[in-house]
Symmetry: C3
């Protein structure tokens, strides 16, 4: 009997761990709604249907392609696992072992797939914000499908699938680099290939194009913060009380400090408490802590968040200065702060040290080079084949009419 009891105890732990991972999956899922409402809130009402369409179909495309190829590329197991490229055959499947603690102490094969699939789709959503209000829908969908299916899993494998970044000691707890900067580099290339929105830098001035709904933007940021409970908390890969609760504390403290850092910075620089900066500050805190959320104590988490909040304000102003038009600040939040957060692992917390910092830098560089080349090539091919940008007329009228033949808010009078 004693043996059975031990088994039951271990089964119970497996059930608990798996339960947390499923809940974390649901939390990461709701981030897609957060990205959707944030992006529409910070853009013009004439492009709302288009943005909502993209953000509603991306999780669907992401989950499907991840089930066909992405998961197999990212976690090749022992089937065909190179250090740079791995592959374990098409399609997800399972066997009895994948559903028990023998597969993994923390969760079943199904939970593994779904948690990782939800993550994967966020990478494409990050791109969406930066290229909004001017990209062709069909082109974007093709880009997203290929990017989530191929590019994201390859760099993901480098670390989380046991590839060369893992071997060399690179650390990225929940993806400041592997998720956020991956999305960020692709977004940067997209912004360069597309060019700015019409009128944005007309007459050599930076012309603000204000977002059309601050409540939607705020809903987005709160849902993203909520989702981060699962994004970072789930990255512990078990329900371990000490580890998960520490991660939730560092994550929340960093988000809070990011808010305060960005609020103070923008209040000083811009002379006004800018709500979009506050919101980007929260997100910056979250992205900044993501690489080392399990390595920091509260004071370090607050410092990382606070610095991230300062950086994001400067970065938003900088990108506008060099005329890279990013409607929602995705480059600043996900790329710039994603890089900072990854480097912060070498500066703060348990792994701090010049060697680690150098490794972190090399990891950032490797991922940046690969994703930049991959996404540039893809943007280039799509530009030559399908075309990247809607017509000038369509952009002026709005993509909702041009691409979808409808309006997001037909009942209300537009301000001129």
């Amino acid at each position: 009997m004693s043996h059975d009891v031990v088994n039951s105890v271990s089964n119970n732990l497996f059930t608990i761990n798996n339960l947390w991972m499923m809940i974390a999956t649901a939390l990461v899922f709701i981030m897609h709604l957060g990205f959707a409402t944030l992006e529409v809130g910070l853009t013009q009402s004439k492009n709302t249907v288009n943005i909502l369409f993209k953000n509603s179909v991306i999780p669907a495309i992401g989950i499907i392609t991840y089930s066909i190829i992405g998961f197999d590329l990212m976690y090749p197991g022992s089937d065909f696992a190179g250090k740079i490229f791995g592959f374990s055959g098409f399609g997800i499947g399972t066997n009895a072992m994948g559903l028990t603690a023998k597969y993994n102490q923390g969760y079943t094969y199904w939970t593994d797939f779904l948690f990782q699939g939800m993550f994967a789709a966020t990478a494409a959503t990050i791109v969406s914000g930066a290229v909004a209000e001017r990209i062709k829908l069909s082109t974007f969908l093709v880009f997203s499908a290929i990017f989530v299916a191929i590019a994201y899993p390859i760099t993901g494998m480098w670390k989380w699938g046991g590839g060369f970044l893992d071997t060399m000691g690179f650390y990225d707890f929940a993806g400041s680099t592997l998720v956020h900067s991956v999305g960020g580099w692709a977004a940067l290339m997209g912004v360069i290939f597309l060019g700015p929105r019409l009128g944005k830098y007309k007459k050599n001035r930076i012309n603000a194009i204000p977002g059309h709904s601050m409540p939607l933007a705020v809903i987005g940021v709160f849902l993203l913060w909520l989702g981060w409970f699962g994004f970072n908390g789930g990255s512990v890969l078990s329900a371990d009380p000490a580890e998960v609760s520490l991660v939730l504390v560092t994550t929340s403290l960093a988000a809070s400090a990011g808010a305060i850092g960005a609020m103070l910075t923008s209040w000083v620089i811009l002379k006004t408490p800018d709500i979009t900066m506050l919101l980007n500050g929260i997100l910056a805190g979250l992205v900044g802590i993501t690489a080392g959320a399990d390595l920091m104590n509260p004071v370090e988490a607050i410092m990382i968040g606070f610095i991230s909040g300062i950086i994001v304000v400067g970065s938003v102003l900088f990108f506008d200065k060099i005329k890279l038009d990013d409607p929602v600040g995705a480059l600043s939040v996900h790329l710039v702060v994603g890089i900072f957060g990854t480097l912060a692992v070498g500066i703060f917390g348990e792994k701090a040290g010049i060697n680690q910092l150098w490794i972190q830098f090399k990891g950032v560089l490797a991922v940046g080079v690969f994703i930049s080349i991959f996404s540039s090539a893809l943007w280039f091919i799509l530009k030559k084949s399908m075309g990247l940008r809607v017509t000038e007329e369509e952009e002026l009228d709005g993509l909702d009419i041009g691409e979808h033949g409808m309006e997001a808010y037909p009942d209300f009078e537009k301000a001129v």
Copy 2:
């Protein structure tokens, strides 16, 4: 001591299972917000207060009536359990046993009641969408109260309470028939009794009456998808890692495939990527997989979802052609795809086979006949007594002014 240990281990499992069921309850609860925002998003701004009012009070009425009578009708236990009608007395109560694993390996009596009560209220919410923009508030509230209190629990008992559908081998995992088509049949009768909105089919044409806020519609669909993690995942009735995680995977794959199926179908047929079709495709995938979410492998789940997405587009166009005016597509999503999903248990997955298909068909029929008769009788009585429809003037001015004396968005200028 050994005996105590075994007990503790089993208590722990009970605690885990109960925890998951409580979380699933919370997830199903949030579906009510999803239904509310979806329905207002897809209808006109002049009826927004009215729809929000309905959708806010329905969960309240549903939970209260379910505590008084519904739960006792649906799960009669051994008290008075016929195969067609059962009853175990008024009001919920409990005893010490109901709070331990002796009642049920998966959850306490309280959790059982609340999870099922949240389900029950969704059935009335489904009706709400189809009859929106013209039904009298008081009439709808009386209909909902009686429907949730009496009709839903009776057909629910036929399967989940151990009634004749259960005996004959009918399978409906989480309610493609018992929840969705139950709401759908009542909605169909309501649409027939009410007639279309003024102007909808004027001059023998189908005149589109566009919804007033696409962001609200998208928020609704994402919250419903999120809620389905609990709706289907909780229907495992335990936190069993293999079963729950499989169900979450099939549910998410079907939703994704539904999105893609509906997107492609509407793009081809309507020549434009229609966001309302995309959203209904996601919901169709979810409804379609609900009856057999625990029986399908990933490929089967994708197929069911994809077909559901195609069906829902055709169905929406069909109902408009036969002049049944359903502002949000509830008949297509919940009734038509609910039926398809139920039949799909006989076509795909572990139970596939002509015998099962025949049983599924009989179950669909039995529920359809009963609910159609019950709801027709109820709509008829209410028409003769309270009246079903608001006055023509009220409908033109909007139900917000007519029924509630206020506007949903008083600060904004209306487009003419």
Copy 3:
């Protein structure tokens, strides 16, 4: 081995309990979004950015200050624990014990901090609604920071930290008094110090200033109800199946009964089904049950909720009559019903009795006196130093332009 097994069983229970507490924390977190959307929905569009700004930065300020001083004031442990004031040093820290079941059977030190920190921040958010549309941003932020850092933890300690209210047998399960009326008293003083919005009581009439978005208000109420699953359910401080599931049932029944009580009352008194009353009825039911959610049976929960729903309607009308201008009804929901809910512990349920009622009354009084004096003093000092109220011109133009230099909805034409 047997010893190890016992250990493992107890570790598993700890992991389960901690998991529930972390999820409850996430649920309480999302209440901040609920407060934000409720408050903007019930106020004018010209003040939306300002309100969103406040509600986005309050959780950040609350969590940070709670980590620096609040948690140490509220739970002094044995370090310096008077019955009226306690303190255990600045800043949160931990040791190995704080991360195991030795610290607490239910959760780790980190979870403890974060759950309580999320609670703390809600107290300031309650104030926000009552003083909306006329308070200076900077003043409000300073008030909130000091209030959450000092005042809330002191009265919280009186009961939950083992202070004199606890010693004398005062009962407040999840904070009808310690959270809701604490916020409510501070709000009352704020409303008195600030005075009504311009035009609200002009010409000796009560002039309705309608909220600008009913969908946002409804989103807020549903998110608050969802969050209450964690607010009350988490206050069990473990995942105990019987206790938590009872609490979720009483909470949901009270919310439902509150909706119905407020709907019927307002329909009778105001001759119209008022949605803002319905929404406040739901919140009233939730606040009313909070003090005794673990002591009531279903019938008692329904009675408390129903009475709360009646009270809130009367209270909203009363405050308008005495010209205390509270844009969102926060005084009625959180202060008046918070007091009723606390007293209800002496009237209904397991602890009912005249002695308990007297103790409850004394607790309400003690907290009311302290918070009223503290917040009056703070409002007074801030009025003399920073100023409380924006200029008349700014109030008329809206705080969005005045304080933030931007609009919440620049794309839409304003109604005049």
